[in-house]
Point group: C2
Chain length 339, copies 2
Amino acid sequence: MLDDRKLEVLRAIVEDFVSTTEPVGSKALAERHSLGVSPATVRNDMAALEDEGFITHPHTSAGRIPTDKGYRLFVDKLSSVKPLSAPERRAIQSFLEGAVDLDDVVRRSVRLLAQLTRQVAVVQYPSLSRSAVRHLEIVHLAPTRLLLVLITDTGRVEQRVLELGASLSEDDVVVLRGVFGTRLHGARLVDAPAALADLPDAAPVAIQPVLTSVMAVLLETLVDQPEERIALAGTANLTRHSVDFPLTIRPVLEALEEQVVLLKLMGEVNDPTTVHVKIGEENSVEGLRSTSVVTMGYGPDGGAYGGLGVVGPTRMDYAGNMGQVRAVARYVGELLAGA
Amino acid sequence: MLDDRKLEVLRAIVEDFVSTTEPVGSKALAERHSLGVSPATVRNDMAALEDEGFITHPHTSAGRIPTDKGYRLFVDKLSSVKPLSAPERRAIQSFLEGAVDLDDVVRRSVRLLAQLTRQVAVVQYPSLSRSAVRHLEIVHLAPTRLLLVLITDTGRVEQRVLELGASLSEDDVVVLRGVFGTRLHGARLVDAPAALADLPDAAPVAIQPVLTSVMAVLLETLVDQPEERIALAGTANLTRHSVDFPLTIRPVLEALEEQVVLLKLMGEVNDPTTVHVKIGEENSVEGLRSTSVVTMGYGPDGGAYGGLGVVGPTRMDYAGNMGQVRAVARYVGELLAGA
DNA sequence: ACTTGGCACTCGGCGAAGACGAGTGCCAGA
DNA sequence: TCTGGCACTCGTCTTCGCCGAGTGCCAAGT
């Protein structure tokens, strides 16, 4: 059905189309790649590939372009992730070293990724629920007002102001600090509910009410509805492709503005060992059906802190972008593990 | 030189052009606006306006369009900031209420502004240096490692990990907390250097070294090089205009990706009482020469916490956008003052 | 059975030519 | 100072025809 030469033809079509942006014809193909056969033969192979749905032609008298299915085959069978060049490695290193805090790491990574791939880059902040508690600070702002500050092992900081029904003494606050500190320190946030389950009963009766409400706030805002954050960069890169503009990039820009969409994108990967690729119609998000998304999780092998990746035209350099995404994901993972 | 009718003609041209996007001719103008004169007269006025540089025509047989100078006159003399409609007010309120923390406030505001104006919206986080210290927490992560967490009255949280040369006891940390707490609580960050100036001398000798380095980190990262943050939304709105090309929106997108550019934009306004408008070539940033920027500071009258605004085509609804920017700035200002 | 050269055919792109019409500038008269 | 008239300019849109890349198919060769 699909012998080696046909696959070779497909690879040639993808590579040429990706680099030239123009439909590729049988003649040019036979010349540029040393396939050792005539254009006519190539045409036959092309017809076969088209029957199988791997390529199409926009109109009768034009060359062929790969379909989503064609790219999929190319990515799965015909290409391998391209390791980075030495300059690229150096770029990553010099770009990311010297980041002062988590925000800085994320912002630098996303810009780096955009620059490296020349695509739109997306980086998810380390997910709260998968992080562990490094420190929980309870600040007594006013008699009836507490400020909770949670700091995770990946450096995320979340704070909430809490209005209490009743007034609280400084001693009460100290007790609260002690109780939550011992229960939560080092615990992963997903495990927090379990760690705190018996807390109200175990505590002194006097502070049980306030303790319960602090617990409620903690669990609600940090575990039940964890606030996910995402950074974006390189949207200007969208204008490099697709000559016919507003129509193509509009829905993409709109989709990328939706926090939900980005979360979905990133949520689908929590595997920090493999690069994932979604091509065109494979994307579950409406506005991104004309693009491809390359993603990877970052963090420890067990479960990633979060995801990162790039969004670009289906006509992209998959091998290269996959390599770049993988490299940045690994670096960021290491950086945060060491923090 | 420019009598009332000519000004009226200019206003009509600006209004028509803004709403239709098309060069406006003398005939259409005389009909649509009840100027009480014939197209021929309007033509004469137009010729005069053109001589003065307030309008041009793209080519001989086209209508007139305003120049930057024309828009400037329009904004300064011919229009007044448009108050919001009732639905708009309600939208602001329902959009912003229920924000749980500063991040939330900023992100909601920027999206709100983008939606309201249908332009690209920019919101600067409250500038650190102009904020006051609500709480400074010093966490003893490890014997030689401190975590500084600064919380400002506007709700910004900044943290830095600090590696010390020497080991520190828990008691030392308590002393540190006390010292910095009393000195800084409630102080504005701009005043921090003064508030801390004599600190090393006044403190117990034992902790002077560590105290000095904590001070150094504080002052350097929080006062000398305060980390400014900016949120952006509505870039997809750029595609609504400029039927023409990527050529128009490309440089704009690129400029908007530069943190520096946005800071410059926002830095130029710290007046929370007036809306500022930069039109086309008036912009100091290269990539934004084809756009207009409407900005305003938010915060207390004395000095704003930060700035916010929108970026759009010079052909924008100035009166409306100015009203919207002003309204959002006021709301955000109140919201943060009450926090 | 596969490959190859030949050949007729398709169809989008591009440039020329022309019709159209919006809008102008100017002028003479009120 | 305003107005109507009029000739003129010039960009836009449409049509038309040519060009050529590229195809599909076929018959012949290996």
